[in-house]
């Protein structure tokens, strides 16, 4: 079900989606973390309304595919789809570019307007944009596109809100898919978190 990409790509993201992703990275500053964005696409605009934290370990194929399958089911139940991916490398100066392109590319193959957020480990503790948003060009390669991403509640409110959430130690309460595999009572949907 490929949508025709319009000339102009635009991303819209809400506070909860952004904050959960960065909280996930902050919960495990010493591991590689990743997750997906849920939302809708309309012509060239992708609207992100939720994020699902997946792993805090080197992402390998079997559990990644399993997680995608379950998250897809969850998304369907909310009339949403997987529209993006976020990633924070365990290494300070590295962004795992190749790996991110590989994993996000699979999302892109089913959602042309997919949005990828690559977290910058040097920025993640500041009240600023904690990384770079990307869209995909005609060749299917990720390109920087933070300028075309709009925050529903406004950037300042989202970033200061995040600082408050960190102070409240919401990182402790956030559960990812990895946590769930170790303990099935942990809920990766995090619906009550924020």
């Amino acid at each position: 079900k490929k949508r025709k990409m319009s000339k102009h790509w635009k991303g819209i993201i809400n506070a909860a989606s952004y904050q959960k992703a960065v909280l996930h990275a902050l919960k495990y500053p010493y591991y590689t973390v990743n997750g997906v964005f849920l939302g809708t696409v309309n012509k060239g605009t992708v609207t992100i309304t939720d994020s699902i934290p997946l792993f805090h370990s080197s992402p390998l194929a079997p559990m990644l595919e399993l997680a995608f399958s379950q998250v897809e089911q969850y998304a369907k139940s909310l009339d949403l789809e997987i529209v993006g991916y976020y990633h924070a490398s365990s290494k300070i100066e590295d962004s795992d570019e190749k790996l991110v392109q590989q994993i996000a590319g699979r999302i892109h193959s089913r959602c042309e307007a997919a949005c990828v957020f690559v977290i910058n480990n040097n920025k993640v503790q500041e009240a600023t944009l904690a990384g770079e948003f990307h869209s995909f060009n005609e060749k299917g390669v990720m390109v920087s596109n933070s300028n075309n991403v709009e925050f529903v509640e406004g950037r300042e409110q989202v970033f200061s809100g995040l600082t408050t959430l960190v102070e409240k130690r919401k990182t402790v309460l956030l559960e990812d898919f990895d946590n769930h595999l170790d303990d099935v009572t942990k809920d990766w949907r995090n619906t009550d978190l924020l």
């Binding site: 500053p29 139940s77 365990s90 402790v172 099935v184 009572t185």
Partner: protein, 301 residues
């Protein structure tokens, strides 16, 4: 499972109250040490509570807590706390190798890599079998971007101490960080040779085989997941969830690559695994809605 409950419930208790009590704080720190968890934010929060409010309640645990707090503080860039912990430890244990290593770690944390390497080199001169210092020195190289050198140091060590499973696992992680899957797999398989009853390593090996893909690797993945399932069975559980799910997923993947490679035994075992998974998700405290999601997802496998 009980250990996970203990850490989880202690964490919840700790953060539930504005006023934190000494006992919960001490127990939580203790549980983290026992489980060998890397939970640096929680450790720093606990340490601050103890140092600020209950300095005398630590008793003999004081030194091990200072060490724990130091490492956590370094992990999070909490320089003031780190300095305090290190100076108290240095004052109490001036000739200690362990404290010297913590000094090296402190240099690493602020990026003073040559000073860190110098500390470790000196320790290694005094004791060439000090494998902890060797690993830290390798990490210095990794931090400086020279992963090749880090890997070379591990490989050299393992040529002598080839049954050191922990070090094989550390090297495996180094390889995984670089997406060098075949090399990581080699390390996990060495671990299997030396530790054939550890199901976790079979799971990691299976994950890599699956990731590498192709008929042969997928067949191996099925085999490794089967071993992992068997080894992880206890009286209370029919096997690790990761292993069970991995089994289902890899049999399916194999069938997509080569229908004929899926033997009747594999199909039987995969169906059995699905039943065990459904059983796990029919338990009492499963979050509402998750069993249905898992059920629907399983159908596509």
């Amino acid at each position: 499972k009980n250990r996970v409950m203990s850490f989880s419930s202690l964490t919840r208790s700790f953060y539930a109250n504005q006023q934190k009590d000494a006992q919960t704080t001490l127990s939580l720190l203790n549980q983290i040490r026992i489980d060998n968890r890397r939970e640096s934010q929680i450790v720093v929060d606990c340490a601050k509570v103890l140092f600020d409010n209950y300095p005398s309640k630590m008793g003999e645990e004081k030194w091990v807590i200072l060490e724990q707090a130091l490492v956590a503080a370094l992990d999070l860039g909490e320089e003031t706390l780190a300095k305090k912990c290190l100076s108290e430890l240095e004052a109490k244990f001036p000739k200690s190798v362990r404290v010297q290593r913590l000094k090296g770690l402190s240099f690493e944390a602020v990026g003073e890599f040559s000073k860190a390497a110098a500390v470790y080199s000196k320790l290694l001169e005094a004791d060439p079998t000090d494998m902890v210092s060797m690993k830290r020195k390798a990490c210095v190289f990794q931090s400086m971007g020279d992963t090749k050198q880090a890997i070379a140091m591990f490989v050299e060590y393992l040529q002598v101490f080839m049954s050191d499973v922990d070090t094989w696992l550390d090297l495996a992680q180094l390889y995984l960080d670089e997406q060098l899957y075949n090399q990581a797999l080699f390390c996990f398989e060495e671990c299997i040779v030396h530790n054939p009853h550890n199901f976790h390593v079979y799971i990691k090996a299976a994950e890599i085989k699956y990731t590498l893909g192709g008929e042969e690797n997928l067949q191996e993945a099925v085999k490794y997941y089967s071993y992992a399932t068997e080894l992880s069975q206890t009286d209370e559980s029919t096997g690790s969830l990761r292993a069970l799910l991995g089994l289902v997923v890899s049999v399916k993947a194999l069938s997509e690559v080569s229908r004929n490679s899926v033997t009747p035994d594999m199909t039987t075992v995969a169906n059995w695994a699905k039943e065990q998974i459904q059983q796990i998700y029919s338990g009492a405290s499963i979050p509402k809605g998750l069993p249905q999601i898992v059920e629907q997802s399983l159908q596509s496998f």
